[in-house]
Amino acid sequence: MGEKGTIVYGVDPLIVHDHYEIDYRHSYAEDSPFFVGLSKGKLLGSRCTGCRYTYATPRSHCMECGAPTAWHEVPLSGRIHTFTICHYGGEAFLKETPFTLILVEFEGADTLFLSRLKGVKSEAVRIGMPVRACFSKTPAFKVTDVWFEPADRE
């Protein structure tokens, strides 16, 4: 980089280009089974072994009572609790705009799940719409290995 010289945007004040990049060795730790689950077409949430509170997301200990939770398969279909269509986004996602974010509610779960909605015209999206989980055939071991589509589509 240094050999290419420094980009100067202005001289008074002196403004120069500065680059920063970093790679991490990132462990999903106790949440790992969730990400492995996505690669097998499963959506794993957590159910409290104490108070039975049921989370649609991984959480090894219950937020309500502090007891350990057990893995629990969240149904693969649910309903849109709320949504938005993003026409802008963080830089990393700008090229994907417009995209639809949804929070999904499930029968038998006390909490929601954040995901993308695909395969539907944005004008048709509404709260209460039935949706089903779809899984990537080539898992990246990211939460985006799952997304949702309208339940009535095959």
Partner: protein, 427 residues
């Protein structure tokens, strides 16, 4: 706990970028203004400082508050950095309050800053979104405007809140700011213009959302003894409260409303709370602050509110959290004109204009949101308002309320994860 007073404050002009001044210089500018305003106070009376800035990504300088501390010439006095997302400034204010209330310090400087202009807006949005869960939320499309859009979409579904009501907040705050020379984005707008500006995340348009800024703000807090000695018109901090909520919006409960003294359980028989439509942390912060301040009905006992309107929607949601109206009534609260300033023409008919002005300064929507400075900026505007010195500091009397008695300031971090409420009183 000892009584704590605010005795001075200062703000830099918030702007898209200040390439000619780094964060230390900006803090120094606000700090010098603060000291100049209390000539009987001198630097040797300062016992310590608390610095606040939100993002190490924006600064790309860890321990940046140490650099501001030495630039101000406050070494080797006690100092630390406070960080709490969007609520960073409000938390910093309360940390300085704690230092004085506990007796550890007789006077404490709270300084805050942010330099967000160093990256482009969309990179900036990405940085901010790193304040959401980076395993579960960020990768899905990390974008705070999207998160808040989902929250208000649900608010609209539950309560019938409309985009026009949200646009009224934008019109109000941008017009208020016409009289505030510190603001970044003052302008006369109409509801139609707000709705016709580019859509960011449905239903929020560009004019529903605050901008990124560079800026700094400073508050000087002191004990009763120091306040009496150094300041002609100190303002008393009579209540502080704060609250929190789960990082992932998805994990928020759907239970019972946390009630304020003037509410009853029957008011909310069918409401599942907070879900994603309300900020439980804001309600908790308000409840604690009202308790300390002895406030039973905020609508009757407050003179004005400076709240964290990063989004027009969150201003409406916050009216409810603060108990200015019941949950579900936030949209009608603004529609009636209750939070508008007296004596300002907003270009629309408002039956109850001026009952309880909210964001007389123009709020984040129009002043800008240099995160670490924002909560302190609100404190400075509230302080000047309660001192009756708005005219002196802003150069015109339009935003000065007549004999305001109590002001509430409210600072809020990403989707309501940390929220602070502090209440100031004229003496």
């Amino acid at each position: 706990m000892r009584p704590v007073y605010m005795i001075s404050g200062g703000i830099t002009k918030f702007a898209k970028a200040h390439p000619d001044k780094d964060f230390r210089f900006m803090v120094k500018e606000a700090y010098d203004y603060t000291l100049r305003d209390v000539p009987r106070f001198s630097k040797d009376m300062i016992d310590g400082a608390v610095g606040s800035y939100f993002s190490d990504h924006f600064t790309r300088q860890l321990k940046a508050a140490s650099m501001a501390q030495d630039y101000l010439g406050l070494c080797p006095k006690p100092s630390k950095r406070i960080e709490g997302g969007g609520a960073t400034g409000g938390l910093c204010f309360q940390s300085a309050w704690e230092a004085v209330a506990s007796g550890r310090m007789n006077s404490c400087v709270a300084f805050g800053f942010e330099t967000m202009s160093r990256v482009n807006t969309w990179k900036g949005n990405e940085f901010i979104a790193l304040a959401s869960d980076t395993n579960f939320d960020f990768p899905v499309g990390g974008f705070y405007s999207g998160y808040y859009a989902m929250m208000v979409q649900r608010h609209m579904h539950e309560f019938g809140t409309t985009v026009e009501q949200m646009a009224m907040v934008s019109v109000k705050n941008h017009i208020n700011a016409l009289y505030n020379p510190y603001s970044q984005k003052a302008k006369r707008l109409t509801i139609k213009q707000v709705r016709e500006s580019p859509m960011v995340a449905t239903p929020l348009t560009m004019e529903d959302i605050c901008t990124m800024s560079d800026g700094a703000a400073v508050c000087l807090l002191a004990s009763e003894e120091v306040a009496a000695k150094a300041c002609e018109r100190p303002v008393k901090i009579i209540g502080v409260g704060s609250g929190s909520d789960a990082m992932r919006m998805a994990d928020r409960p759907h239970g019972k409303v946390i009630l304020l003294p003037h509410e009853q359980e029957s008011d909310y028989a069918h409401l599942k709370y907070p879900g994603v439509h309300s900020f439980r942390g804001g309600r908790m912060a308000a409840k604690l602050a009202y308790q300390m301040a002895g406030i039973h009905n905020p609508m009757e006992e407050l003179s004005f509110v400076e709240l964290h309107d990063a989004y027009t929607s969150s201003e409406i949601q916050t009216y409810e959290d603060l108990g200015l109206c019941k949950y579900g009534e936030g949209g009608r609260f603004v529609e009636r004109g209750t939070p508008f300033m007296p004596g300002i023409d907003y270009g629309m008919s408002l039956p109850k204009q001026e009952r309880l002005p909210v964001n007389p300064s123009g709020g984040l929507l129009a002043c800008g949101h240099p995160v670490g400075a924002t909560g302190l900026m609100q404190a400075v505007f509230a302080f000047w308002q309660l001192q009756g010195t708005m005219s002196k500091h802003l150069g015109n009397p339009t935003l000065q309320l007549k004999n305001p008695r109590r002001g509430l300031i409210h600072s809020h971090a990403g989707t309501g994860t940390y929220i602070t409420v502090s209440i100031l009183e004229a003496i």
